[in-house]
């Protein structure tokens, strides 16, 4: 079956009434779950999974997929309006989305995020269809050394975003790396920094961390201002449409974000959180006036949102073509297939073309539905800002708690939010940037385990990082990047002393 036949066949599956209904159901649920802070696609899919035993496997997978990428749309809403990431993937969107909302451009930010999400997904689908074979070969070629080198590059590239003082930025990244090392050490099985708590063996819960750092601090800071109720930060529904300047800036950011997202999404173990961070870092690096970032630069919303959506789509590449799930959510999806008697793996495309192409086409349909659904919703989301904050914030507190609880049914994690929230509040007061902490937290364990794994595999020889071509490229790029920043700093220093 060639691609055209496959796509046509896919339409015949995806347009079946039952599949279509579950597709709509999935994306609608995904959107709302994404909007609710804390509760993410992972929790929602595992809660929904038992219900899908009773529907056809195509409908089940289409619905669960819809929840997954639908959540990426919704995640941006709370990030932009409340500086409270609905999902960890959209944490980076707070950096410029929230300032835009403060400037009364919430509608524009939401519009940009929805459109970028849609474009990112569409590009992701094209990549999935055209490059699936290449990407899946790529994914098996990436070894531990390559991952380690790539993540170090990502960390270096992104570690100074959103802060004017490098020492403060680095301190946050390092703190994040330390928090990321909490839990059972993969290489030795030793439990680190857990203080004997079994609950901490699997590390600090990412959702609890994101909610505590971003959400709690923001809520506390805003209660004082809740007195000015009924007067939200000058929002007008007419200001929904982006300016010509915005439109000029968006396409490049979307294209770059989608490319990054498609690539990283397809690599097992990396995923959409990282690609959104890297997209942000890239936009800031290449911007002519990087100081606009953090003040409401539209590229800072468009790039990451395109990246996390295209990553959500291309995450299906290893899952569908190799039968190898790249993240826990994909593992759940594979589990769903097995329960329905479909054997995932390299042969699935031949054995069950209806599943593969049906799913691919349903991505397109689902994203179209999401766009159509979400554009009118922007007005509603923006008008939510009209609700007096004193009514809103207790509800947010409760939703954050339940969202965190939903991840693994752990009361301990809710208590952790309180502790992290207290720390996050102190950090926010001292103007530290929580996004960098999150970056260190996400990348740290990946770098450490892959670095040590590479050393093990290389029998203790550090030259493995230069012998493997992929990792050598990343190492050279990292060195070049550091050299460039030092050169820039030295030039600034010289011009200052000369003046």
């Amino acid at each position: 079956m060639n691609t055209v036949e496959g796509i046509l066949h896919g339409f015949s599956v995806a347009l079946r009434p039952d599949v279509l209904v579950y597709c709509v159901l999935g994306v609608v649920m995904g959107t709302f779950i994404g909007v609710l802070p804390g509760i993410g696609a992972m929790a929602a899919i595992s809660l929904l999974l038992p219900l899908t035993y009773y529907i056809s496997p195509e409908a089940a997978l289409v619905m669960l997929g819809g929840v997954y990428y639908g959540a990426q749309y919704g995640g941006a809403v709370a990030s932009i309006l409340l500086r409270l990431p609905g999902t960890p993937q959209s944490a980076i969107t707070t950096l410029d989305g929230y300032p835009m909302a403060r400037q009364g451009r919430a509608g524009v930010a939401l519009f940009a995020s929805m459109v970028s999400s849609f474009c990112g997904s569409m590009i992701g689908i094209v990549v999935l269809v055209v490059l699936a074979g290449w990407l899946s070969r790529m994914a098996t070629r990436f070894g531990a050394a390559d991952y380690a080198a790539m993540m170090v590059l990502g960390l270096v590239a992104a570690s100074t975003i959103g802060s004017r003082r490098p020492a403060k930025a680095l301190a946050m990244v390092v703190l994040g790396l330390i928090l990321g090392s909490v839990g059972t050490d993969v290489n030795s099985g030793v439990q680190r920094l857990t203080f004997g708590q079994t609950q901490m063996m699997d590390g600090i819960n990412l959702v609890a961390l994101a909610m505590g750092l971003f959400g709690v601090a923001e809520i506390i800071g805003n209660i004082r201002n809740a007195e000015r109720e009924g007067s939200p930060p000058h929002v007008s529904l007419r200001q929904l449409l982006p300016t010509r300047d915005d439109l000029r800036r968006m396409p490049g950011a979307v294209a770059r974000g989608s490319a990054l997202g498609s690539f990283f999404g397809a690599l097992p173990g990396t995923g959409s959180t990282i690609s959104s961070f890297l997209s942000y870092a890239l936009e800031r690096r290449i911007a002519r006036r990087p100081e606009r970032f953090g003040q409401g630069a539209i590229e800072g919303v468009a790039g990451p949102e395109a990246a996390n959506n295209s990553a959500a789509i291309s995450a299906f590449v290893p899952t569908l073509t190799l039968g190898i799930p790249g993240d826990p959510i994909m593992a759940l999806m594979l589990g769903a297939l097995v329960i329905h008697g479909v054997q995932p793996g390299p042969l699935m495309l031949e054995a069950r073309p209806d599943m593969f192409w049906g799913l691919v086409v349903s991505f397109g349909i689902g994203n179209l539905i999401l766009l159509v659904l979400n554009l009118p919703l922007i007005g509603i989301w923006v008008s939510m800002l009209r609700i007096p904050f004193r009514w809103l914030y207790p509800a947010i507190v409760v939703f954050v708690c339940l969202g965190v609880y939903s991840v693994r049914g752990s009361s301990f994690d809710i208590a952790a939010v309180a502790v992290i929230g207290a720390i996050g509040y102190l950090l926010a007061m001292a103007r530290f940037n929580p996004a960098l902490l999150l970056l260190g937290f996400v990348l740290g364990p990946l770098i450490e385990t892959n670095l040590r794994r590479a050393m093990l595999i290389g029998r203790g020889d550090p030259m493995v990082f230069l012998q493997r071509p992929i990792s050598a490229v990343f190492v050279v790029a990292t060195v070049a990047l550091i050299a460039a920043s030092l050169w820039g700093a030295w030039r600034r220093f010289r011009s200052r002393t000369a003046a």
Partner: protein
């Protein structure tokens, strides 16, 4: 859609019973049964548990609620079951928390012998020794030979330090008199990728993780750790008895139904009978096999023996690893 309605009714029933409105049945808890599972909803231990709890709830005429309390390799599920004693709490768990975790985890907070009442073994799953399709060894004998050629010549992947896959490989290495290099990963997905990519040589893994790659001619399976051939991969030879490996070599993951110690013996008895009846259903067996699990059953004493045996076998392996 009928199924949905039934679920809704059950949920409603749970609320009513929970608030004390339902009539009491004699000698049987009136509250809904809670079954704690130490893994997230949708994971294979969870699906196994639900294959038992759904028919169980029908047979008892009483709601059975699955509580997912994932974390620490299933230990948190057992801890939560013990903490929830008064709620007629039960649990299903994999072997780890009952056999190896007390050795590997700082203060698990329970004593398997004193705090756990075994109910019944649910299912077992062997591991297969898998390699890339183009690797030179073709069977267990040639694999051992290749490993003997040089210490640490074979690098194998596992799903973590102290995981079943790691301990099984070390048990095998001990039996074969070889030494292999252990590379810990976190999931079979990573191990599979790394084997196919040629980064590591081998791995003991779940048959269902290896099977799709074998069918696509990317991997091969040299042997299986159960004492009988396994129905999901009937062609894979049993490792025990080959190339000098003892005949009683056996390494299986298992999943069991347990209760807190001190639960009414009549209740334990009834549960054992019902669980065994459910496991006799060919439909349930078929579903378990599709996931790579062989339905088992048996008495509570059988399970107690299994726990004791495995604790000593794996204890020895852990001693050996720690001595290195």
């Amino acid at each position: 859609m009928k199924q949905f309605n039934r679920r809704a009714l059950l949920a409603l029933g749970a609320v009513m019973i929970g608030t004390g409105m339902a009539a009491a049945q004699d000698a049987w808890p009136t509250e809904p049964l809670r079954v704690y599972v130490g893994f997230p909803a949708g994971s294979s231990p969870d699906v196994l548990a639900r294959l038992i709890t759904e028919p169980l709830s029908r047979k008892l005429g009483q709601p059975v609620v699955v509580e997912n309390k994932p974390g620490a390799g299933g230990v948190i599920g057992v801890q939560q079951m013990l903490a929830g004693k008064t709620d007629y709490a039960f649990g299903t768990t994999i072997n780890g928390p009952l056999t190896t975790s007390p050795r590997l985890v700082e203060n698990v907070g329970y004593d398997v012998g004193k705090d756990i009442a075994p109910v019944a073994l649910i299912a077992t799953s062997p591991l297969v020794l898998a390699m890339a399709a183009e690797a030179a060894p073709t069977d267990i004998a040639s694999f051992i030979e290749a490993a003997r050629a040089e210490t640490g010549a074979i690098a194998y992947g596992s799903v973590g330090q102290g995981s079943g896959a790691h301990l099984t490989a070390e048990l095998f290495a001990d039996a074969a008199g070889i030494e292999m290099l252990h590379i810990p990963f976190t999931s079979y997905a990573e191990v599979t990728t790394s084997i196919i990519g040629g980064e590591i040589d081998a791995g003991f893994m779940a048959p269902s993780a290896a099977l799709p790659q074998v069918q696509a001619d990317k991997m091969k399976m040299l042997g299986i750790t159960s004492s009988e051939p396994f129905a999901q991969v009937p062609d894979v030879p049993v490792i025990a008895g080959q190339a000098g490996i003892p005949d009683d070599f056996r390494a299986e993951l298992w999943n069991a139904f347990i209760a807190p110690a001190g639960t009414d013996p009549a209740i334990l008895e009834r549960l054992n009978t019902e669980v065994n009846a459910i496991l006799d259903d060919p439909e349930v067996q078929k579903k378990m096999l599709a996931m790579g699990w062989q339905a088992q059953g048996g008495t509570a004493d059988d399970l107690a023996r299994r726990i004791a045996d495995d604790t000593s076998v794996w204890g020895n392996v852990i001693d050996r690893i720690e001595a290195q």
